[in-house]
């Protein structure tokens, strides 16, 4: 059984869920030990990503509930509220270059 783990601080890992729990193209939210929230995704190729769950445009913790897509071969999630897109690998907002969300390291064990 493969489990996804998130790094919240250098060298410390938090288990999130079984890999199979994540439908490719959809996300799930995870609660981190310090109270922050992460949005975890898997793409069609099976790669996992984790970014902060907070939508910086509204403040709501909802990015995990957005739709995953890809542009120029790079996966993104579109916020379910006002549809701004965020690159899953870098956290950068594709629709407003000044906005970035945090990216968490993720691994399958």
């Amino acid at each position: 059984m493969t489990v996804l783990e998130l790094s919240t601080a250098p060298g410390s890992w938090t288990a999130v869920c079984e890999e199979a729990r994540l439908t490719p193209g959809r996300g799930l939210a995870a609660l981190l030990p310090d109270g922050r929230q992460a949005a975890v995704f898997r793409d069609r190729a099976g790669r996992a990503y984790a970014i902060d769950n907070r939508d910086p445009f509204t403040g709501a913790q909802v990015l995990s509930r957005g739709l995953v897509g890809s542009a120029g071969g790079r996966p993104f999630v579109a916020s379910p509220l006002l549809k701004q897109r965020f690159d899953l690998a870098t956290g950068r907002c594709l629709d407003d270059e000044a906005v970035v969300v945090a990216v968490y390291e993720i691994r399958a064990r």
Binding site: T14, A15, V16, C17, R21, T23, P24, G25, R26, L28, A29, A30, L31, G35, R36, Q37, V40, D43, R44, D52, R54, P56, T58, G59, A60, Q61, V62, R65, G66, L67, V68, G69, S70, A71, G72, G73, P75, A78, P80, L81, K83, R85, D95, D96, E97, A98, V99, A102
Partner: protein, 836 residues
Amino acid sequence: MNPTPTIVLVGHGMVGQRFLEALAERGVTGRARIVVLGEEPRPAYDRVQLTSYFSGRTPEELSVVGDGFLERHGIELRTGDPVVAVDRAARTVVTGSGRTVAYDHLVLATGSYPFVPPVPGRDAAGCFVYRTIEDLLAIEEYAKGATTGAVVGGGLLGLEAAGALKGLGLATHVVEFAPRLMPVQVDEGGGAALLRTIERMGLTVHTGTGTQEVVADGGAVTGMRLSDGSELAVDMVVFSAGVRPRDQLARECGLAVGERGGIAVDAHCRTSDPAVFAIGECALAADGRVYGLVAPGYEMARTVAAVLAGEADGGFTGADLSTKLKLLGVDVASFGDAHGTAEGCLDVVYADSRAGVYKKLVVDAEGRLLGGVLVGDAEAYGLLRPMTGSRPPVPPERLVLPAGAGAPAALGPAALPDDAVVCSCHNVTKHAIGQCSTLAEVKRCTKAGTGCGGCVKVIEQLLPSPAEQGLCGCFPYTRSELYEIARTLRTTSFAALLDSHGREAAKGGEGCEVCKPAVGSILASLGNGYILDGEQAALQDTNDHHLANLQRNGSYSVVPRVPGGEITPEKLIVIGEVARDFGLYTKITGGQRIDLFGARVDQLPSIWTRLVDAGFESGHAYGKALRTVKSCVGQTWCRYGVQDSVRMAIRLELRYRGLRAPHKLKSAVSGCARECAEARSKDFGVIATAGGWNLYVGGNGGASPRHADLLAQDLSDAELVRLIDRFLMFYIRTAERLERTSVWLERLEGGLDHLREVVVDDSLGLAAELESLMAAHVAGYRDEWAETLDDPERLRRFVSFVNAPETPDPTVRFVPERDQIKPDLAFLTLEGVTSR
């Protein structure tokens, strides 16, 4: 030179900021230290749109510096600290606060200052200029105690300032020395038309008169004496009599300046000292002109950035002086050789002095367009300006005639040559715009449309229509084409469809937020069963995914179906109890049902367990699906009713519930022609007649309301249902994404008549197939919530956190309002501060 050279920019105005962006685009910000010294108390802002401050734009909104731009590129900005001296030998500058900064390259972008004619009294309290945000704040403050104002100068800026004073509630005079308004841009005929328009707006214009003296009493303005001897009683005066380049720093350190001012530069904007550049309004360009517009300044900024990046660059050799007045209510534009100075050129003029319209085009002997002036109707500006220098596709006289008077019907932007400059603020050609597919993309990639905005209309016309564009970046087909493909191939998988019919670059990818739900809806309406199963789960918007509507704080709303708006007291009580027990906000909707707001995602299953037990079903408020069929009370109770509208509404709502469509569907049934159910504002509306039912289609409320059109009359129950079956399935099959029936019907070739042929007369022989598709839908319908509750696997997604299923999301919080709850939005913003 130092391994990390220092570039010092003096002046953080529009051109200075553009220069920084051009450096960043070329990667120079990563190789050099960049120091910006600005005199104004704030970072660069949009001076061109300065006047929009008076229509509600805040100074913050006027900023042209992207959030985090300076930090990201390591640029050091010091505001409110002007440079007071340059030591070229030591290569240092000194600021007002005494700071010394050494430079390798110095770039002067100090702009202009407003020229104030040396008349007595010009320093009295109540005298202003119109250049900075601080000027506007001061004008606004002073105007509170004033009733009458005057603007000295009837040029572009003067009229803008006059419009602003008028907007502040002052009786406003404009005093212009020249014999007409806007003398630089507009010729005599145009000036006359402009005068009429301006006077009609309630401004008093004095042309051919100079200002002799500002009269002051106790140090404050009380009036103005004009050169014709007359006097005006005014409380404040705004000088807008032209600008002068700010070249004093350059003069004092011995750089060459022009006879009439301006820091002399070569084609690469180098001053007489190769380590010093000058750009923008302070520079005297190589062609001997000082440009008072922002577009040429941007070109200069680009040139210097290219030089500093070590790129070859053609340099700045001149620019055109096209302008469009931004004053509300006045349409004035001039472009190219507006005054017809070229040898042998000819004028084509249309004037209607009653309407205040004047249009002049200047053409050469070969019929090439050289320039023009448009007053009163500048509609064609966006199109004509880019045509400058080429021969228009129709004779010039047809270009100035008003619409409907023989004006060309089909002269659109398509007629422009590829290299035509569509956006003159950012020098963007038609070709460059053709590389983008949406306005947002154009703005992001080329900056076109982000300056004065005068080109946006033309840009929109240059962008491909949805049919040419395909659904999105992933599919070259429209929704209706994809529907046919999916139906013919019996595709049931989004990934398979993407890999076989997607664009090359998108194959194997994830799709996007546009095509996923659109294809999801196609697959659902082709009868793919429960929409949350398998791969389909990943296609649905969060609303469909959680079978509820996401609200702004991350909570959800719950809307149980109330067919026809008829509800028993028992069911009302259940809704009330559920709302009370879960603490939900309740509201009667515009669709004759009840919305319960503020449910956390993990509460949805328990709420629905209670609702389903009481006999409720999903109301599909979340889906592109049938919403409600509203009804009036009808024949049973109403003295006027001629049919049982409630019974029919319930029948229709139960028949079409759960039907997935390109957009949402709404319906209503009225019991007589009084139309209390508002059926004609619905996608399909039914109105009772003595002989049966009239069916109306293609109506909606919303953003562009449209009344539905009568499709068929005096139908029996069975005929009515059959026609609606066919109508809906034909719509679902041929409409584009997010195209409501109204828009679809207007687009449909042959319109209502064609629709009637297909649906009523079965001209395409499709009717049987459409009916059987609907029969399959009706037979296959199952309540999504009941199915979800029955399946532990499906229920697993209703948790706030996958790794802490018992923990509710602590950020979904509420505060009280009018005895109920509302989202605690302040908490969400607060949260941002702590979690970042």
